[in-house]
Symmetry: C2
Subunit: 205 residues, 2 copies
DNA sequence: AGTCAAAGAGACCGAACGTTCTACCTCTTC
DNA sequence: GAAGAGGTAGAACGTTCGGTCTCTTTGACT
């Protein structure tokens, strides 16, 4: 059966998802009702409940959307050397923080509203974080495997701090501190590599 | 029977405040209604509204309470040398993260729920963060004034990251990364002090 | 003894919440 | 042209929300 390629993936649904993305990220989750999302997406309540089981599923879909965007961002940051990839990734993160719509990490914000570890929304947050931690660890491991895990943890901690404070103080200063911290971390990591075979920045990511 | 021997600062009010502290921190703010707080504090609604203008003021009072606890914690961490004070402060923060009730930074969590910068709750968050940033900056300035500001920003960023992720992954690993990061930062800061003259470009592990 | 503020008990309000429902419309595809 | 999925429109559900109200009881201090 040939699927009609042009229209069918439901335009109303994507409008709903885009609106949810914008509003949930900008104003939080618990504090916005579905009435507002439905209205702003120019969709009726019935349409929302045809595409999603309820608000909760919409929230998870929202986080899934952000997760996909982050993975695309990470993929776009690939460079020839893992160190440069880490730098490019940090720069991409910094660009996000500098953007006027920046309102912190969507996942950290969501976790603050859904503390219950068993809740599907919280689980979505954990899943995303696991992916990110793993991705960064792999990049460090390409430089040197031994100390990759703690270095990656350090990197993620800096990122979390930068994302958390990016909308609570001057974003420019936050970015400067973040980029500098990452650079110091990467430099120190590469510096210690000498003596343990393998030339720096040689491997392709 | 209500045995009230020391009723001056209103026993019901402090019961209310303690309950709000526990519940807001554990479960978030928007997702808990005053009904639950009133019930758990064993107080009637009328009593709540006698002591507070409304939920909003109760939330601010909750954050004020946490702020006071943090200042006490910082005061208790004072050592003979500023470097040791920074270490003690980090250890105190790590202890908080290790505690089973740890649920992240109350202020970061509150900011996630109140993104509007003009909102009183958000303002309370900013005020606390300003105090903390200032306190850490002063400690670094006691070692060397020139590079104190960026070093303090780095310290606070690590703290934010540790607090944010402390309840999203293994607290022990988070603490280890945090303490190690702070130690590297302090070491690098002290090391560069020799020779002074304000060398540019701080390098932290 | 009398006063008065603090607190308890609980009914009550309007609004907003997430959710469900029926009824009708408009396409595409068979 | 019948079928059926996706969409619109709007009413309504029961619950919970934050907040206000009246009335009574308590206990400390003049």
């Amino acid at each position: 059966m040939a699927r009609t390629e042009s229209t069918r993936p439901s335009e109303a649904r994507s409008r709903l998802l885009n609106t949810a993305l914008k509003i949930f990220y900008a104003d939080g989750i618990h504090s916005v009702g579905i009435d507002r999302i439905v209205e702003e997406a120019q969709v009726t309540r019935a349409t929302l409940y045809r595409h999603f089981l309820g608000k909760e599923e919409l929230v998870v879909a929202y986080l899934t959307e952000v997760d996909a965007a982050m993975r695309a961002q990470a993929a776009a940051a690939r460079k020839d050397s893992p160190a440069d990839t880490l730098r490019a990734l940090s720069e991409a993160i910094a660009q996000g923080i500098r953007s006027p719509e920046f309102r912190g990490c969507a996942f950290l914000n969501a976790a603050a509203e859904y503390p219950d570890p068993d809740h599907p929304v919280h689980q979505a947050v954990l899943a995303h974080r696991e992916w990110f931690q793993h991705t960064v660890t792999e990049l460090f491991a390409l430089i040197e495997e031994e100390r990759a895990v703690p270095a990656a943890r350090h990197f993620v901690m800096l990122r979390d701090g930068a994302m958390a404070s990016g909308c609570l103080s001057d974003p420019e200063l936050v970015c400067e501190t973040f980029i500098r911290g990452v650079e110091g971390l990467v430099q120190a990591f590469i510096a210690q590599e000498e003596g343990s075979g393998g030339s720096p920045g040689e491997r392709a990511i």
